[in-house]
Structure formats: structure tokens, C-alpha cells
């Protein structure tokens, strides 16, 4: 450390020691500065709230337009079987998801109307045999295995429960992509706080767990509320061996085992 540093330090130290034990005359000044300190606190507080709640979400997501402004409402009107007309199950039990170009070509070999979006489809994709690079709002990371069959066919869930009333939309929403993860905003949900009003507002693992943690226990064992489960576990610990095999699915979590939703 150079001598200059030392000097500076000494000055700083003196300044500090003075501040920490101010002479009587300074007390008044301190009150005034106390007010300004509070003000600074509030300014910092509010500024960061604004950044966190308003600026940050805007920065976090990049906005992308769908290649074609798809009109779900119009299509639902014309087709016979609702969502299933285009989003159907294949014979092997897999779910077709977003339609391939061939399905579009079925009707749109040539433009049926005047809509510029349809013209775009026909000219840029159908004519050239190029797949439409749809942006999938509900696309999950690659580690996720999701069985539409289990939810739609077995659990008889409605499409709306997870996907919302997308079938009623007449325009394709802007697709927002998280700049960090590259995942659609629909997974986290519109609400930046992660709160949800509708069942389809979020598609994170928490949403899966919400059902799988409770429903699985209900259907496969008995109704076991968290408290009851707690006491049952104590009993099991106290009297080992009374456990029924197959009582739970996962050894680790006692909910559903990881492979149910992961690959």
C-alpha cells in the first residue's frame, strides 16, 4: 500500500469516527439527514419495484410474430370435430400436436378466399412445399414427457383446461420467448408473479405436481391429506412392517415417480 493510500484512509477513518460520535451540534443536522435517508430508501424501493414488475418482464421476453396470423375461431366453425379435427390422436396413441403442412394442404391446396394470410400460406408454404414454422406456445423443454392420451382419453380432461380458450381466438397471439431459457412465456404464465386465475395460465411443473401429488394419492391409495399423511408416516416409522407394498408410487417423493412426466 502506498503512502498516499494510507493518508486517504486516515482521513476516511477520521471522518467516520466523527460521524459515529457526532458532537452535540450535529444532532439537528442528523434529523434532517434522517428524513433524506428515508426518502432515498423510498426512492430506491419504488424504483426497484418498477424495474422488477414493469421493466424486467419487458426485457425478459422477446416478441415473435407467428408466420401466419391463424384464425382458430374461423377454423373451428368450419370443421366438424372441434379441436380433434386438426389436433388428433394417431393410431399409435401419440398426439399429432401442431398440424403439418399436409393437413393444411387438404383444404388449402389453393386459396379458398381473399384473406391475405391464407394467400401467404398458399404461396409461401403450400406451393413451395415448405413446412410452416409455427411457434408453439405450449412447447415444453425436452426433458418433459407429456401424454395427451393419459390426460384426454383416460382422465377425460378438456383441452381448455391446459390450453385455454385458444380455439376462440381469431388472431394468433404474439409469441413471447424467454431470452434466458428460450421457452415460451405461456409456460411461466402471463402474470410475472406466477399467479394464476385460470387453470391454463401456467404450464410449469408445479401445475403438473398440483394434480399428480394429490390426485395420484387419492386414486391409488386412499385419501391422504397432508396432515393425515404426516401422522400415517409417524405410525409407519414407529411400527415398521405395517406398510402395505405398493402404497405409494415413488420411493423418493411418495407422489408420482419422476418417469411419469420425464424422459
Amino acid at each position: 500500500m502506498s503512502k498516499k493510500d494510507e493518508k486517504e484512509k486516515a482521513i476516511a477513518l477520521t471522518g467516520d469516527s466523527e460521524a459515529s460520535s457526532p458532537p452535540d451540534g450535529a444532532k439537528k443536522e442528523e434529523n434532517g439527514s434522517g428524513g433524506s435517508i428515508l426518502l432515498f430508501f423510498i426512492v430506491g424501493f419504488i424504483a426497484s419495484l418498477i424495474v422488477g414488475w414493469i421493466v424486467f418482464p419487458k426485457l425478459l421476453y422477446s416478441q415473435k410474430k407467428q408466420p401466419i396470423d391463424f384464425n382458430h375461431a374461423l377454423h373451428v366453425e368450419t370443421v366438424d370435430e372441434g379441436c380433434q379435427s386438426c389436433h388428433f390422436f394417431r393410431d399409435d396413441g401419440s398426439f399429432s400436436g401442431v398440424p403439418k403442412l399436409t393437413q393444411c394442404t387438404g383444404c388449402h391446396e389453393e386459396a379458398q378466399g381473399e384473406d391475405p394470410e391464407e394467400t401467404k400460406l398458399v404461396e409461401e408454404y403450400v406451393a413451395k412445399g415448405r413446412e410452416v414454422p409455427w411457434l408453439v406456445y405450449s412447447r415444453q423443454p425436452n426433458c418433459v414427457f407429456f401424454s395427451h392420451a393419459a390426460h384426454v382419453k383416460m382422465a377425460k380432461m378438456e383441452c381448455v383446461t391446459c390450453h385455454g380458450p385458444i380455439g376462440e381466438s381469431s388472431h394468433a397471439r404474439i409469441y413471447e420467448e424467454n431470452r434466458i431459457t428460450g421457452i415460451s412465456r405461456d409456460i411461466w404464465g402471463k402474470n410475472i408473479a406466477g399467479l394464476k386465475r385460470n387453470s391454463w395460465d401456467r404450464m410449469k411443473m408445479d401445475e403438473c405436481a398440483e394434480c399428480h401429488a394429490s390426485e395420484a394419492i387419492k386414486t391409488e391409495v386412499s385419501i391422504e391429506t397432508p396432515m393425515l399423511g404426516f401422522f400415517n408416516n409417524i405410525i409407519r416409522l414407529a411400527f415398521p412392517g405395517t406398510e402395505k407394498p405398493g402404497r405409494k408410487n415413488s420411493v423418493q417423493t411418495q407422489h408420482e415417480a419422476c418417469f411419469v412426466c420425464h424422459k
Binding site: 426518502l39 432515498f40 430506491g44 426497484s48 419495484l49 425436452n142 406466477g194
Partner: protein, 741 residues
């Protein structure tokens, strides 16, 4: 207001509090967690509709049916075709890795012309038009100099429309030099021809035999149709069929057999004849067959078997005479005993004597064209193209003897003698081969005595490879006209090695060609058309697919649907109709046969004094040794006692190793009269003392970085040894010495 230190601190604390109450830190943490779980450089395979395509695998002559699973337009997995008569759902290790050939790094992406020296791997991409016209000009030039017979074609196969188109091209061009790479079927064809008088392939009813005596066949290493043999092996285990394996090394087959009889290498024929002698001596043969349907039996017994009493057999083979006798008795006592031969995979020919000794054994027990025996399977003769119109040049060229000498007076019954080609080229100043086509073969690597092959290669002025992969031959060619790989093309695959029913498999394009390649059938048709009449006239089809459709005619649609055609009701000819020899009987001792037995034992090359050990090659089911190199998945399964890093290992019995002062893992040099190589020692109790063994299929210099440079190409060390009577290459090993490195 002054922003002093305290105010600033206050501001920061306020900011921190506000931030904590905003979603920012929590959301960023969550996003970072997701980010750290999905690295952008880890590929995400595209999903899509799953579909299946049934086709035929042509990686080996096994003729298995395969089902390729596709997701969208990608092929993602190859599986065995359920219900296929040859492999019924099973599949071998190589077949499973087939997609690595399709999408692999050693694919050749477009036609290429060599720019640097041969083997330098400097290439220029050219158009198909340019490539074909270049070949056309060269060939026209050659033909104009009355040198049409100097065109040769080495092909990895000769059944089916594609090689037949090439052969047809050569014929109408004026060259008889269509040479197929060697296989044990050459020997079997010869045996069938001499003893039964038939032009046929040998089929083995292994599923119904009740005792198997194998003279070194790698039943588990890929002999015949590999999956079928695996299934047969399991069937034997289930039904208690005993297997005796005779070979000097504890191969996988020997390990799976019920009895392993180690034998001095190269003396299998002596054991076979010794067994025959015991069977005759003890009258254990099937009289009804011998009496009514064979000729020359007495002469065989007197002229041949007299030399093989058990004592003599013990001396030559190293097998205890009691074992010889009991083996003969066991064999003869079985109801449907089957003797087979063809070392390892059967990728090379055997001496005529050995084949016929084994045939004789089967004949002694009457197991010819019987359930559980050896059958003569006629070629499914389905290719009937219009007669060729040959001009004078073509006719003259076809009159010229073949460069390999096959079919000549010296080797009258042999169709292909590839091993003679290097010698023929090297023995004259001007190479008798002025232009060479190579189709689905890799002779630069696979013909034995590599140094000699390289020398011959240099003398061939113009070499065209049709390979899909940058194999050694392609790397040392002048022009590459890359073929589609088997999963991109239509092709008929007649026959399945050793199978007992006539069958034709159809290969179908599973995916669109991945590169700018062209079906070799189309290439040859386009070449013919470019060369003009009379050659063009012989190829009246618009393209290969039209040719294939026309060839199959009304069978085409059914073939396409099922993926194969089979003569399910085929039965072998009964004894009274089976034999087309002069005597119409099974021939034991014609002159040709007698000569074969006289040269039965093929000695290994080299002097014992200089080379005290015997080096034998062995086949491993995990190393592809055919025209195709091991793909990355398969090379991954190779044990670290076979390859370690780039080093290849040689198997040595601990006794031999101790005598030489060598221990496990040590570096050593193996030398033979043909060459030497650096190897590492692997001590193996399962190999006969005095014998050392190396795997085939390693030591590639071309292909990709997953394969190249690993281990030693055994062809560098072993040369051909001609069977005196047939001309076939009957080398089974070579004398060698092993020293510290």
C-alpha cells in the same frame, strides 16, 4: 439534497428491499435453473409421426429383413423384421448400427475427381454429367484401341440386378473380367458341382439337424446368415442338439458349443477324412444311400481314406485318437448329423479338399438333400433380360481369357479368383487391367498381402469407385461415383447365405438420398447410354427402377408389399433326381475330386525355423470385416483386450508368451514372410500354444476417425496360398514370429 454515503446506502437498501419484493430475483433464478438444465448445444431431436418401413439389409449376404422406424422424415432406428423367414425379428449388431452408415461422416457427398496423388485424399467435386462423361471417354478410348478386355470390375456381390447390370455392361463392352470378391460359397459351389454335378448354392438345414459338427465355422461370429445361425444356436440349446466345434481357438462359437476340440490349424481336412475312415471301418455309414446313390465309394475308401487311420490323424491334428474315434461314432450315431466347414464368417474360400471331405462326411451319413442336412439350392433364376447384341469388338474382348484366370484350363470350375489379380498385374510390365470399376467392395483393404496389392494398384491407370463411403479403395481411386446407401435405394437381394429356401429380398428407399449420390444401377445405365450403340442398346430401360420393375414383372407389387419373395414350398430334389453328374449319382472319387484330396492339406507359408509360430486370423461378431468398416457404435463394443487406443492386440497363450518373455499388454512385433506389425500382447488361455491370433477387420486407414488407424489389418501379414487343384485361395494363416518391440 446531497447524495452522501449514508443516503446512497439507504438507496441501495431500499432498492434491495424493492427488488426482493419484485419477481425479478425469483424469476431470474428460476429461468437460470431452466437454462442450466437445457444447454443449447445438447441436441433436441425433432418429434413427429412415427412410421415403419420394411426393407432388406444388404450389409452382409445374410439377407435379413429389417424394419426401419422413422420419425417424420428421419430414420431413427433399425429393427429386425418380425415374421421374416430368415431372421424373424432378430437383428445383428451391424444391422442395428446401419443408420450410422446412412448419416455417417464417411459418406461421400457427390461425385469426385482426384486432384492430388492417389491416396492423398484431395478431391474436386464434379457434376454427375461430368463424372459419367469422363468414364465414358476413357472407356471409349480403351475400346477404340481394341483394349476392351482391359476393363475389369471388382464387385462385392454377383446376385441381383445391379451386379448383373455391371456384368452386362462389361460383356457388351467386351470384357469378361467381372470378378466377385471371394467367399466360402465359391468352395461350396465347387464341391456341389464336382460331387453332385449341380450349379447351386449350399443350404444347411441347421434348424432340423440333431448334431452339428463344425470345422471352424464361426456360427456365432457371422457364418452364413448371422441372425439365422444365432436363432439356430438357441434352438439347439432348447432342444438339446449337441454342437462340436473343431478349431484351434476358443472362439465364441467354441464357447457356445458342447464340445470344443482344439486342432492344429489347417489340419481340419485330415480330421474330416479320419472321421470318414472310422465311419467306414466301423460300417457306421448309411448303406441305403451309399449303395444306391453314390459312385466311387470303394475308390474313395481305397485311394483316399487309407492314408487316414486314427493314429495318423492324431499325429497330424494333435487330437487324441480316442477322441477321433468317439467323435466319428457320435456323428454317425446321430439321426440327422450335419457337418459344416468354412472358417470364421466364411468370408474367404477354403481348399476344395476340405469342402469335399466335409461333403463326404455328410454323404456317408446320407444327409444330403435331407431334413437336417446339406441342400443344393438353385439360384432363383429370375433375371431374364433381352439377349445381348454384341459387336465384333465385344465378341473379341469376351474371347480373351479373364485376367484372374478363372474358368481357364488350369482352373476350369472356378468363377472368381480375385487373389490372383495382383499377381497378374505385377507380373507384367503393362497392366492387363487398364480400367477398373469397384462396386460395393473394398479390395484395396481386403485382398491379402496388402503391400503387393498396393504395388499392383499403382499400375492400374484408371480406377472408378462406386462406393458410398470413403473406404480405402475409394480413397485410392481416380474417380468416385457414389452409390446411394442401402437405405436410400431400391434393390433386389437374392438369396440368404446358407438358407434353405430360394428367397429374394427387396431393399426399399427408407429415406430420400441424403447427398448428391446416384444409384449404381442408374449410373451404369446412364454410362451405357452415353457410350452409344451397341452398348446403349443393351440397356433399353429408362432408369434402374424401370429395369427392376420389368425384371420382376407381375411379382413386383407383391414384392413391394411384403418386402421379400420366398419359394416357401421348396423341397430339395430327392436322391434319384438330385445328382447331375455323369453317373447321376453322388460322386465320391472323380478325377477332379481325387486330385483335390491329394492336395487336401494346405501348408502355411513360411519356414518353421525362421517363423516358429502360426498366425491365424479370427473373426469377431463385433468387428465387421467385410466390404464395410465398423461403424462407431459397433467399434464401441469392441473389448479393450482387442483394441486399446490405437493399438491392436494379438492373442497369445500364456505358455507361448512366457517362452518369449512377453506379458499382458506388452508391445511386440509380429513378423511373417509377408510383413510385420506392431501389436500388444493379450494373454488368452483359449488359444493353442504355438498359435497366435489376430482379429480381422481392423487397421483401416480410411473411413472416419472412429475407425481409422485402430489395430492392424491382418491382410498386411497374410498372403494368399493357392489350393493346388482348384486355384482357390486356401490360406488359413501364416507362419510368424513374435518378438519384443
Amino acid at each position: 439534497m446531497k447524495m452522501d454515503r449514508r443516503s446512497f446506502l439507504s438507496f441501495v437498501i431500499g432498492g434491495a428491499a424493492g427488488t426482493a419484493l419484485s419477481p425479478l430475483p425469483w424469476k431470474v433464478t428460476d429461468d437460470l435453473a431452466i437454462w442450466s438444465q437445457n444447454w443449447s448445444w445438447t441436441p433436441v431431436p425433432e418429434d413427429g409421426e412415427v412410421g415403419y418401413v420394411n426393407t432388406t439389409c444388404s450389409l452382409c449376404p445374410g439377407g435379413c429383413g429389417i424394419t426401419v422406424r422413422k420419425v417424420g422424415d428421419r430414420a431413427v432406428k433399425i429393427e429386425g423384421m418380425k415374421g421374416h423367414p430368415v431372421n424373424d425379428g432378430g437383428i445383428c449388431i451391424l444391422g442395428l448400427a446401419g443408420l450410422q452408415f446412412l448419416y455417417g461422416p464417411s459418406r461421400i457427398a457427390s461425385p469426385m475427381r482426384r486432384t492430388g496423388e492417389r491416396g492423398e485424399n484431395k478431391w474436386q467435386k464434379i457434376s454427375w454429367e461430368e463424372a459419367i462423361s469422363e468414364v465414358s471417354k476413357k472407356l471409349a478410348d480403351l475400346r477404340s484401341k481394341n483394349q476392351s478386355h482391359a476393363l475389369a470390375c471388382i464387385s462385392g456381390y454377383d446376385g441381383g440386378t445391379v451386379p448383373r447390370l455391371f456384368e452386362r455392361f462389361l460383356t457388351v463392352y467386351g470384357s469378361a473380367n467381372f470378378v466377385r470378391t471371394p467367399a466360402v460359397r465359391d468352395s461350396y459351389e465347387l464341391g456341389l458341382y464336382l460331387m453332385q454335378g449341380t450349379q447351386a448354392n449350399a443350404g444347411f438345414d441347421v434348424e432340423n439337424a440333431d448334431y452339428i459338427l463344425s470345422f471352424g465355422c464361426g456360427i456365432i461370429e457371422g457364418w452364413g446368415s448371422p441372425v439365422r445361425m444365432f436363432k439356430a444356436n438357441s434352438h439347439w440349446k432348447e432342444t438339446g442338439v449337441k454342437v462340436t466345434q473343431v478349431e484351434p481357438r476358443l472362439s465364441n462359437t467354441a464357447a457356445k458349443s458342447d464340445q470344443w476340440i482344439p486342432i492344429k490349424p489347417g489340419t481340419e481336412v485330415v480330421l474330416a477324412l479320419g472321421l470318414a475312415r472310422v465311419i467306414v471301418d466301423e460300417s457306421l455309414y448309411r448303406r441305403e444311400f451309399i449303395a444306391s446313390h453314390t459312385a466311387g465309394f470303394d475308390r474313395f475308401v481305397q485311394n483316399v481314406l487309407k492314408d487316414y487311420p486314427p493314429e495318423q490323424v492324431e499325429k497330424v491334428t494333435g487330437i487324441d485318437k480316442a477322441v477321433v474315434v468317439s467323435l466319428a461314432k457320435t456323428f454317425a450315431a446321430a439321426k440327422k448329423p450335419l457337418a459344416i466347414c468354412g472358417r470364421g464368417r466364411g468370408a474367404g474360400s477354403e481348399s476344395a479338399g476340405e469342402i469335399m471331405a466335409v461333403y463326404a462326411l455328410n454323404a456317408l451319413v446320407g444327409n444330403i438333400n435331407q431334413k437336417g442336412g446339406v441342400w443344393a439350392i438353385p439360384d432363383p433364376n429370375y433375371i431374364r433380360w433381352p439377349e445381348l447384341e454384341m459387336d465384333a469388338q465385344a465378341a473379341a474382348g469376351m474371347q480373351k481369357p479373364r485376367v484372374d484366370g478363372a474358368g481357364s484350363k488350369k482352373y476350369p470350375h472356378i468363377r472368381n479368383l480375385l487373389h490372383r489379380l495382383p499377381e497378374m498385374i505385377n507380373s507384367t510390365d503393362a497392366s492387363p487391367v487398364q480400367a477398373l470399376f469397384v462396386l460395393e467392395a473394398n479390395p484395396y483393404y481386403s485382398v491379402s498381402d496388402s503391400a503387393f496389392v498396393r504395388k499392383a494398384w499403382k499400375k492400374i491407370p484408371f480406377i472408378v469407385s462406386f462406393s458410398s463411403f470413403m473406404d480405402e479403395t475409394a480413397a485410392n481411386a481416380d474417380l468416385i461415383l457414389p452409390n446411394h446407401v442401402y437405405l436410400e435405394r431400391h434393390e433386389d437381394i437374392p438369396g440368404a447365405e446358407g438358407f434353405i429356401k430360394p428367397i429374394i429380398g427387396l431393399a426399399k428407399p427408407v429415406v430420400n438420398p441424403q447427398f448428391d449420390t446416384l444409384h449404381a444401377g442408374d449410373t451404369i445405365i446412364r454410362l451405357a447410354k452415353m457410350m452409344g450403340d451397341p452398348i446403349a442398346k443393351a440397356f433399353p430401360w429408362e432408369d434402374y427402377e424401370a429395369c427392376l420393375e420389368e425384371t420382376f414383372g407381375d411379382k413386383w407389387e407383391a414384392l413391394g408389399e411384403k418386402g421379400y419373395w420366398i419359394d416357401a414350398g421348396f423341397e430339395p430334389s430327392p436322391w434319384n433326381k438330385a445328382f447331375e453328374t455323369a453317373s447321376k449319382k453322388f460322386e465320391f472319387a472323380s478325377d477332379d475330386i481325387g486330385a483335390s484330396f491329394q492336395n487336401a492339406v494346405v501348408k502355411a507359408e513360411g519356414e518353421e525355423s525362421a517363423y516358429p509360430l502360426l498366425l491365424i486370423p479370427y473373426d469377431s461378431p463385433r468387428i465387421s470385416a467385410g466390404r464395410i468398416g465398423n461403424p462407431p457404435f459397433v467399434i464401441k463394443t469392441v473389448a479393450d483386450t482387442v483394441i486399446k487406443g490405437k493399438n491392436g492386440f494379438i492373442e497369445v497363450n500364456p505358455k507361448t508368451a512366457i517362452a518369449l518373455g512377453l506379458s499382458e499388454g506388452k508391445s511386440a512385433v509380429i513378423s511373417t514372410p509377408r510383413g510385420s506389425a506392431k501389436v500388444r500382447i493379450h494373454l488368452f488361455e483359449g488359444i493353442m500354444p504355438g498359435v497366435v491370433a489376430m482379429p480381422t477387420g481392423l487397421g483401416h486407414t480410411a473411413y472416419d476417425s472412429f475407425l481409422a488407424g485402430k489395430g492392424v489389418n491382418i491382410n498386411e501379414l497374410i498372403g494368399p496360398v493357392e489350393d493346388g487343384s482348384s486355384g482357390l485361395n486356401a490360406a488359413w494363416g501364416i507362419r510368424a514370429k513374435l518378438g519384443k518391440a
